[in-house]
């Protein structure tokens, strides 16, 4: 399973891509495989203040509904409107067109609490 090196990861299976003071957030390839076919995505509204580790979005799959946690604190800058009509992008391209939202980084120190690709991969191995 693929976990791109340049990304950060959380224990709750979100990934983060850092660029220009903001982060793009989605769910990992492992997470989408576990959820199976995604049928609905509820995203936060733009401008909403989110807190690290608090639920801020919902993914519904054929299996169940799941909370998506904000990996960092900050304001929501943008959301992926494409997911409204094509939730399957999360399954097809989890690290690309399946991105969910971006957050303006408030405290870059919070990045220290996240996992790198190796650490995330070994977490998953442990769980099996």
């Amino acid at each position: 399973m693929e976990f791109p090196q340049e990304l950060y990861y959380t224990e709750t299976h979100e990934w983060l891509r850092v660029k220009d003071g903001e982060v793009e957030v989605g769910i990992t390839s492992y997470a989408q495989e576990q959820l199976r076919d995604v049928v609905f995505v509820e995203l936060p509204r733009i401008g909403k203040k989110v807190k690290a580790k608090q639920p801020c979005a919902v993914i519904e799959s054929v299996k169940a509904a799941f909370d998506i946690y904000a990996p960092l604190s900050g304001d929501i800058l943008s959301i992926n409107k494409e997911l409204e009509g094509q939730p399957e992008l999360i399954n097809k391209d989890p690290y690309g067109r399946g991105w969910m939202f971006t957050i303006k980084i408030e405290n870059s120190g919070e990045l220290q609490n996240l996992l790198n690709a190796q650490a995330y991969a070994s977490k998953i191995k442990e769980a099996h």
Binding site: D37, V39, F40, A64, A65
Partner: protein, 485 residues
């Protein structure tokens, strides 16, 4: 029998009629005189045009495609799909009950009030809870009422900072939903390696912000939370309350009273434990029992006995008010009342005994063929994992679909979420040994097929009226309308 029954619109034939109206025998009046033109529709409704025989055959055929407890074994974990004795329908249908109107004054409905009063007394005794509200429409409604009472209780004590509800990671999905809907924040507590609430993790989450905990006992793994008294003590010492989801009460009937475990709030699913039919045949009923300190907040009106008469009592100044039109789902309560009286104490004890025995019988039969992540003796249900079969490329969904070919309803799958590839099996107390053996044999055959002919399982079902439906497309692009050609 046609395997693909057409929609009634598709068998419509222009000009065909089910009934012929007799000639008009009163003076004809222009329509405008009776209904103003602006309220008249411009085009007639496009109803299907069919004969009476078309209608009878269409709906009879549809009913024969139905899968139900009346036709098959239904081992749907957590749902208690047991047999609902027919005599309960007779009792609930008695004219003295079925022809009452909720607006009739109490002096005309004494029999019904007496039944509700006595029913409350019985469930109080069974559960060891000092008072019940019969208003909740079903289990999740009982949970919602429970959470509203927890809020009212803390508010009354001036502890408005208690905003968090603890819920185990094995909980029914309705638990966090009910807590969130009542304005609480949900905190998850982990299960330990035995599938029980992790006491250390629970102790760590205690704080002055904790309003309470929602717990299911036996839990959704079918295991009895043996530390329930300690759990309640931990919560009570921290100033919180304990809510018990009573969905699994058929495992405990006559054996242990939730009130004695330290539970403060408990709902019963009359439509599961006490044989109100459910699923498409509902409605449900979810009476809520509470401990002494919560009584003032219960909904009104409550049935009260004054001498030999029964009245509706609204005089509870601290009540949270009404949560349901009228008095609850009375028909289901009547069936539950008939069930309790016909079984009696010994009968109810046999219910829990048979529920637990049946589940363990199946668990043992299947434990060599499927992984059993929590191998402890179970209560009324147990959870297998299909991870061994998944290595052959056969998922739990495939196993569930294949069971349909063997004429069994599939168990609950992919729940609880803490078990990979979960198959949650609840045989209930009303099944015979022969049925359980036949079911076990089918699941064992499928386990063998997963090894020797995995495509057979992956392609299932083969013998059902429709094969595998595109449920992903159905969820993503629901099409709920008939489009006229």
């Amino acid at each position: 029998m046609s395997q693909q029954e057409k929609l009634i619109f598709e068998i419509s034939s222009s000009g065909r009629r089910g009934v012929s109206l007799p000639p008009l025998d009163v003076p004809r009046k222009p329509l405008e005189e009776m209904i103003p033109t602006k309220f008249q529709r411009k085009t007639p409704p496009r109803l299907p045009e069919v004969s009476e025989l078309d209608v009878v055959r269409h709906f009879t055929r549809l009913s024969q495609l139905n899968y139900s407890v009346d036709t098959h074994f239904y081992p749907l974990g957590s749902c208690t799909m047991k047999y609902n004795p027919r005599v309960h329908e007779e009792v609930a249908g008695l004219e003295g009950f079925s022809r009452l109107h909720p607006y009739q004054p109490p002096e005309q409905t004494q029999g019904m009030l007496e039944l509700l009063y006595h029913f409350s007394e019985l469930v109080k005794e069974i559960c060891g809870m000092p008072e019940f509200s019969l208003q909740p429409a079903a289990g999740a409604h009982g949970e919602l009422l429970g959470m509203m009472l927890v809020r009212a209780y803390h508010r009354k004590r001036g502890e408005t900072g208690r905003k968090k509800i603890i819920i185990p990671d094995s909980a029914h999905g309705t638990n966090p939903a009910s807590a969130a809907l009542s304005g609480f924040e949900v905190i998850e507590v982990k299960s330990d390696s035995h599938g029980l609430v992790d006491l250390e993790d629970l102790r760590r989450t205690m704080s002055p912000e904790i309003a309470g905990m929602m717990i299911t006992n036996p839990n959704t793994l079918g295991l009895f939370e043996k530390d329930i008294v300690t759990i309640c003590n931990i919560l009570h010492e921290a100033g919180g309350l304990v809510y018990c989801d009573g969905a699994n009460m058929n495992a405990l009937l006559g054996r242990v009273k939730p009130g004695a475990m330290g539970i403060d709030l408990l709902h019963l699913n009359l439509h599961k434990t006490f044989t109100g039919p459910h699923g498409g045949g509902g409605p449900g009923s979810g009476p809520l029992g509470v401990s002494e300190p919560l009584r003032p907040f219960l909904p009104v009106p409550r049935v009260k006995k004054e001498g030999d008469t029964y009245i509706w009592d609204y005089n509870y100044p601290e009540t949270i008010g009404r949560i349901k039109a009228f008095y609850g789902h009375i028909g289901v309560i009547i069936k539950a009342y008939a069930y309790i009286l016909s079984l009696g104490t010994e009968g109810l004890m046999k219910v829990s005994e048979a529920a637990v025995l049946n589940a363990n019988f199946l668990r043992k039969k299947l434990s060599n063929f499927y992984d059993l992540p929590y191998p402890e003796v179970c209560m009324h249900e147990f959870v297998l994992s299909g991870r061994r079969q998944k290595k052959q490329g056969v998922t739990t969904l495939d196993i569930a679909k294949r069971l349909l070919d063997y004429d069994f309803y599939a168990p609950t799958i992919y729940f609880p979420l803490i078990v990979e590839e979960a198959l949650m099996i609840e045989p209930t107390e009303t099944e015979s040994k022969q049925t359980l053996e036949a079911f076990a044999e089918a699941l064992i055959k499928i386990a063998k097929e997963a090894e020797s002919a995995p495509d057979r399982v992956k392609g299932a079902p083969f013998d059902t009226p429709v094969r595998r439906l595109d449920e992903v497309k159905a969820a993503r692009e629901p099409n709920l309308h008939w489009n006229f050609p």
